[in-house]
């Protein structure tokens, strides 16, 4: 959650599309782990509770280093440089096994020193509270950041970097400082992760991880402060729950992302806000029938697609275990044409009805928006 928020500091607030955010989380995690081990050996007298901050400082340090190069440019150039640095660090992580621990990574033990007030951070519940504490503090701090002069100027840089130059600000400085601050929060998150899992592997600095942060920040919605929080919750749900349910979860994730980018580029939070606006003007009840229709028909169509996907995956991976797939409580035979035709039928009817529902919905939505526009005008004139 902290990572996604710190990522959004770049993407949502500063318009910087970074493909290498995991670098700062990951390096923060490594620094934190090394510090933890040093503390365990009695080299450094640092309490476990402060390890995330060390990770944060680590992330900040590397953001300070790499950010100098990356933030000189914005837009596509920025994205490409971050991608390059991400690959660079990932390659390095496999080369310098002293620091990165090679493919196995480095591990540590968070239970060190004497218990303080009975807290050893041994049981997961204590780490959980520590994580919750840090998350709360970091979220509060990052929210505060959006209300500071620098935070606001960062919005201005996102909107129109050229104009910022003509009101006395150096846009590179603005981006750089914000990047370093985002690096700190990313590193803190990495440090918490290191404490939680007690192991850090090269994967945490990899491009795949950076991609996941980008994906879920976007899904949650980059335009609102709370969007990435929703995104982070989805991230955890997807990684933990969805991957339990089905082997095809990455495919589903990709499809969801695709549809989100195409039809709701503001992410889930913008969908929420649009409907809240509707509710505020008391128009939600005019439209909920259409929503219900959308949901039911979409569900039918999606069920069909999901069944096909599951059967295909079954054929690919588990064909040896026989033709039967159990999906959503039904037994399906991959070798019988009935199952396949059933699915196709579901998809066709589902999406056919969905299209009808969608047209009705668009009409209702348009009417409601018009009503709201009129209402706003009326209220303005009444002033």
């Amino acid at each position: 959650m902290i990572v996604c928020l710190s990522y959004n500091m770049l993407l949502g607030q500063g318009g910087m599309l970074s493909f290498g955010h995991a670098v700062y989380t990951g390096l923060g995690a490594y620094i934190a782990m090394h510090t933890l081990n040093a503390a365990a050996n009695g080299v450094l007298p640092i309490p476990v509770a402060l390890i995330p901050i060390v990770g944060g400082l680590g992330g900040m340090f590397f953001a300070f280093l790499f950010g100098y190069v990356t933030t000189r440019k914005s837009g596509t150039t920025f994205a490409m440089i971050t991608l390059g640095i991400s690959e660079l660090v990932f390659a390095m992580s496999l080369m310098f096994s002293g620091f990165f621990g090679g493919e196995a990574g480095i591990s540590g033990n968070r239970v060190i020193g004497k218990p303080f007030l009975g807290i050893t951070f041994g049981p997961p519940i204590q780490v959980y509270y520590l994580t919750a504490f840090y998350t709360f503090i970091c979220v509060a701090l990052m929210y505060a950041f959006t209300r500071t002069p620098l935070g606001r100027i960062l919005n201005a840089v996102r909107d129109n970097p050229e104009r910022v130059e003509f009101i006395g600000y150096n846009t590179q400085h603005v981006r750089y400082i914000s990047f370093v601050i985002a690096g700190f929060f990313a590193g803190t998150a990495g440090g918490i992760g290191a404490l939680n899992f007690e192991i850090v592997t090269a994967e945490v600095v990899g491009a795949a991880r950076s991609g996941a942060y980008l994906l879920f920040t976007f899904l949650g919605g980059a335009t609102f402060f709370f969007g990435p929080i929703i995104g982070a919750i989805l991230l955890v749900l997807a990684f933990v729950l969805l991957s339990e349910f089905t082997k095809a979860w990455l495919l589903y994730l990709g499809l969801v992302f695709l549809f989100m980018v195409m039809f709701a580029p503001g992410g889930i939070s913008s969908l929420l806000m649009m409907n809240l606006r509707l509710a505020a003007f008391g128009r939600l009840r005019n439209i909920w029938v259409a929503y219900l229709g959308l949901a039911v028909t979409a569900l039918i169509g999606l069920a069909g697609i999901a069944t096909i996907v599951e059967m295909v995956y079954h054929l690919q991976l588990n064909a040896a275990m026989g033709p039967e797939v159990r999906f959503a409580g039904f037994g399906l035979q991959t070798n019988s044409s009935h199952s396949w035709f059933g699915c196709v039928f579901l998809v066709v009817t589902g999406f056919g009805l969905f299209e009808l529902a969608r047209r009705q919905y668009l009409r209702d939505w348009g009417e409601s928006q018009e009503y709201i526009e009129k209402e706003i005008k009326r209220r303005e004139e009444a002033l």
């Binding site: 505060a144 950041f145 209300r147 500071t148 002069p149 620098l150 935070g151 606001r152 100027i153 919005n155 201005a156 996102r158 909107d159 129109n160 050229e162 104009r163 910022v164 130059e165 003509f166 009101i167 006395g168 600000y169 150096n170 846009t171 400085h173 603005v174 400082i177 601050i181 002033l383």
Partner: protein
């Protein structure tokens, strides 16, 4: 006292000479209009003065500071601010936020992130004042992208003056406005640039003669006349090069 001086400025883009040796000196408090046919180099001149481009040769002085080759933000901090021909505001910020961003640097807040914006009483007050000056106080929390065209132009001017710069460059402030909007807008420009040095590029002759103390006529990268409106009007060179052709339209 000289507010702004250009000494033998040249600017080439590749092999094309856009500005071919311009000397111009503006006293503080003067209102100068720069006119000339399309492609004469008026906007380029503004870009050179505000630091968007560096001149190929020559010197630009702002008061007693040499500014040619400096970055836009450095020049802005020294007290020269400009507006743009194509509206150049922060579309996703509200009117108030637009102006607040514009006053921050001049009040010394720089890149500060240990203070809350809401607590910066001076910045908030100043932004409110400018908002009243450009008559957008009723649109305080409207996103800049949702303003009407004329309102956006006013906001553009607001952002330009809000930093407290002494020298103001306005690039076609009334471009694209209707007659009545233009009239009101000239009034507004007069008010908000009170006591400042003003340079403006303008096509509308009504605006030029109504606003300017002196007019500089730029043709093919050179200043062919720089004088009071009346003198410029009767200058045969100007009539031939510019006004003459304009009147035949």
């Amino acid at each position: 006292m000289k507010a702004l001086a250009l000494k033998n400025i040249h600017k080439n883009f590749g092999k094309t000479q856009i500005i071919r040796g311009i000397d111009l000196s503006v006293l503080s408090g003067e209102r100068i209009a720069i006119i000339g046919p399309n492609g004469a180099g008026k906007s380029t001149l503004f870009n050179l003065m505000s630091g968007r481009f560096a001149p190929t040769s020559g010197e630009i002085w702002l008061g007693d500071q040499r500014i040619d080759g400096k970055q836009p933000f450095e020049i802005n901090r020294l007290g020269l601010s400009r507006s743009f021909q194509i509206t150049n505001i922060f579309p996703k910020l509200s009117v108030f936020e637009n102006l607040r961003c514009a006053v921050l640097w001049s009040l010394g807040y720089k890149y500060s992130f240990f203070k809350f914006l809401a607590d910066l009483d001076d910045a908030n007050k100043l932004a409110e004042q400018y908002m009243e000056k450009i008559r957008l106080d009723r649109k305080r929390d409207v996103l800049a992208m949702n303003l009407t065209y004329a309102e956006q132009r006013a906001l553009e001017i607001g952002i330009t003056i809000a930093g407290g710069a002494k020298v103001i460059l306005l690039d076609e402030p009334t471009a694209g406005m209707s007659k009545s909007e233009t009239l009101r807008f000239v009034q507004l420009i007069r008010q908000v640039t009170e006591g400042k040095t003003l340079l403006t590029v303008e096509h509308d002759m009504g605006v030029v003669f109504g606003l300017a103390d002196k007019i500089a006529v730029v043709v093919y990268g050179e200043v062919i006349a720089f004088d009071t409106p009346d003198a410029v009007r009767s200058n045969p060179k100007v009539q031939e090069a510019y006004l003459g052709s304009a009147q035949t339209h």
